[in-house]
């Protein structure tokens, strides 16, 4: 793993919410991610492990988050994420949503797993081989993009 140089640019001040959903306690992945995102200049709100859907939604709402990053390792991701996107929508949260980690119980087919989480509403689905740098790169793209669009909209109105 390579970690980005400490002190990159700040990314539009948009907060990134990070947490492990459900009763999952695997903390190492988000610890590494938090460090990499912070080093890349993101404003990270790390909710830690065993975070409920409600906690994700209220954090996203109160921080006006640009992105919500959900981690799940222990194999119950699908059950744990049911309804999360509906609640985010109810809260008028338009953050991009990522999910990553070890998303199925057992030796499942990845393409299948991926579809399941797209159906649930996630914008991007990451497997457990994900390099933190790839997450940084993706977020940079998605958040700048979102920001630009928003700006354009306000100029036009």
């Amino acid at each position: 793993m390579a970690v980005a140089a400490i002190g990159g640019d700040t990314h539009m001040g948009q907060t990134v919410i990070l947490g492990v959903i459900g009763s999952d306690a695997h903390v190492v992945g988000i610890t590494i991610l938090e460090q990499a995102l912070t080093a890349a200049g993101f404003d990270v709100e790390n909710l830690g492990v065993q975070t409920s859907k409600a906690e994700f939604v209220s954090a996203a709402e109160s921080e006006d988050a640009g992105a919500v990053l959900v981690s799940s390792l222990y194999g119950h991701a699908e059950q744990d994420c049911q309804g999360l996107h509906e609640r985010l929508a109810d809260a008028d949260c338009d953050a991009v949503t990522y999910i990553g980690g070890n998303l199925a119980v057992g030796q499942n087919d990845w393409a299948e797993t991926e579809d399941v989480f797209r159906e649930l509403g996630f914008d991007r689905v990451f497997d457990a081989e994900t390099d933190p740098e790839a997450v940084v790169a993706s977020l940079e793209r998605d958040l700048d993009h979102t920001t630009t669009e928003t700006e354009r909209v306000s100029v036009n109105s």
């Binding site: 793993m1 390579a2 970690v3 492990v20 009763s23 999952d24 306690a25 695997h26 903390v27 190492v28 610890t31 590494i32 460090q35 990499a36 830690g48 492990v49 065993q50 222990y74 194999g75 119950h76 990522y98 990553g100 070890n102 199925a104 119980v105 057992g106 030796q107 499942n108 990845w110 991926e114 797209r118 996630f122 914008d123 991007r124 689905v125 990451f126 497997d127 457990a128 081989e129 994900t130 390099d131 933190p132 740098e133 790839a134 997450v135 993706s138």
Partner: protein, 495 residues
């Protein structure tokens, strides 16, 4: 108030009967009836005796699926095709959270769909009779393996169900496994579990207890793991446990692993009462695995080799599918056989390695200082001392998700690959020990031409899954040989 005192018999009974009302299956857990069932079991299913009398390291996998018939099939497979000496039953996550309702739903779904919708065996939902059927259907002794902070009802049901070994402890099944469980309360819950085991023990059914040594599984400095084992051992012994298997998770440095296992045994025997039989268990690498079965087999191979050198009483094996998810039974059996082959090829060889004593000494000094600190934090009471020591950070576990732990300690490997401590927080360790660690880490920093920092930690966390022991900085990051997995990981864009 929390105290390291034995729970009185009437209080045990009272709490037990209260707990048994929490879920319908509790009613079937009758103690006298259970004693009778245990007495009916052949000697080959007496966990403590089998383990304590073994003349070679016994092998045990991890395994748990929702349905009873599947679980039986799985265990029989691991016995016959994997050569497992001791069997596990791993409990699902809902049960670990005491969410028996959700576990019931998962079990029903599993029964209908045939899919494994739970990540383990919901023993409480299955109940006493199903557990006994399981015990009767296999030849080896069986242990309950879980990760449950409040495992009281689970213990009531499974021990009545004929299991003779029970993993976990108030620190080791709280600090690495939960965020919000109160440590004091967890200790009380485990005093109950240990007292229940003690009650069986008094009646001649010596239940084996196994504190979970690997903790967060991720670069845990040996002295920390050992200190936790001693503390949990002491708490269990107070409640009447007489068969204790102290655990340790491989860090991957051969000298350090052998030294740590020796230190564990040494201190276990020193600190624990004479009437408790102390054994040791070595867990094959508990951190992130390579996403490739062939390289995973290499990691398992190093585990087997280390076990052959250190000769613990028991080895918990990993499967080559560890990275991917819950392994197939075939992969699980494969992990057992790869380990067995290495142990059996090496165990008769005399391989004397230099420098183990020195490392063992360092580990023992550090572990002792942590244990003493717990004792003094509690004014001589280990139970209260544990809470206070975690509170002050005098005792701490790296990467602990729990609010009860400071998680200020950060480990990193030195230039030889031994796990040292980079950030100490308030860990109760002598200055002289800190100097040794720091000197070793400085050596590594010099070798790598970078300063000591969290980047070393992050690199070390990924190193073994990336194919190395030490997370050295690499000039280019990509490249390297393929890993037998189709996509080199990463995201799938939804657009």
């Amino acid at each position: 108030m929390l105290r390291d005192d034995r729970i009185p018999g009437d209080q045990l009974r009272e709490t037990a009967s209260e707990l048994r009302d929490r879920w319908p299956t509790g009613a079937d857990a009758d103690f006298e009836d259970a004693i009778e069932f245990h007495e009916s079991l052949p000697a080959s299913k007496r966990f403590a005796d089998v383990l304590e009398s073994a003349d070679r390291p016994l092998l045990q996998p991890r395994a748990g699926v929702p349905r009873l018939d599947d679980q039986i099939e799985l265990l029989v497979h691991l016995e016959t095709e994997g050569g497992a000496d001791l069997l596990p039953t791993t409990i699902d996550s809902y049960t670990r959270d005491n969410e028996y309702e959700k576990a019931a739903e998962g079990l029903a779904e599993a029964r209908e769909s045939g899919n494994d919708t739970l990540n383990g065996f919901p023993a409480v939902n299955h109940g006493v009779d199903a557990c006994r059927e399981l015990i009767q259907s296999v030849d080896a002794p069986v242990e309950v393996r879980h990760g449950t902070p409040d495992a009281r009802l689970l213990a009531i049901v499974t021990l009545a169900g004929g299991f003779q070994s029970f993993e976990g402890g108030p620190i080791s099944y709280n600090i690495p496994y939960t965020k919000e469980h109160d440590l004091e309360e967890t200790i009380e819950h485990w005093q109950f579990v240990d007292r229940l085991c003690g009650a069986y023990t008094e009646r001649g059914v010596r239940i084996n207890r196994e504190p979970f040594g690997p903790l967060t599984g991720t670069l845990v400095p040996p002295a920390i793991a050992i200190a936790v084992m001693i503390v949990e051992g002491l708490l269990a012994a107070t409640q009447g446990v007489r068969s204790l298997t102290l655990g340790y998770g491989q860090v991957g440095n051969v000298v350090q692993d052998v030294a740590a296992l020796r230190a564990l045994r040494e201190l276990g025997e020193e600190y624990l009462p004479d009437d408790a039989v102390v054994t040791t268990v070595f867990h094959e690498w508990m951190g992130g695995f390579p996403p490739d079965e062939a390289r995973a087999s290499g990691v398992i191979g190093l585990g087997g080799a280390t076990a052959a050198l250190a000769r613990p009483d028991k080895v918990i094996t990993k499967s080559p599918q560890e990275f991917q998810g819950v392994p197939t039974r075939e992969a699980n059996a494969a992990g057992l056989r790869t380990t067995r082959q290495l142990i059996d090829m090496m165990v008769e060889q005399e391989i004397l390695i230099d420098g183990i004593d020195e490392e063992q000494n360092l580990i023992e000094r550090t572990a002792r200082s942590l244990v003493e600190s717990v004792v003094s934090h509690g004014d001589g009471d280990v139970a209260r001392g544990t809470v206070a020591a975690f509170d002050s950070g005098a005792l701490d576990v790296p990467f602990a998700p729990s609010d009860s732990a400071a998680a200020a300690v950060l480990p990193a490997r030195d230039d030889d690959g031994r796990v040292r401590i980079l950030e100490w927080g308030d860990l109760a360790v002598p200055d002289e020990t800190k100097e040794i660690h720091e000197a070793r880490l400085d050596e590594r920093a010099r070798t790598e031409g970078r300063s000591r920092s969290f980047r070393m930690v992050a690199d070390d966390v990924d190193a073994i899954s990336d194919g190395k022991l030490i997370g050295r900085p690499t000039p280019s990051d990509g490249g390297g040989p393929g890993d037998g997995v189709d996509t080199r990981g990463g995201e799938s864009d939804a657009d």
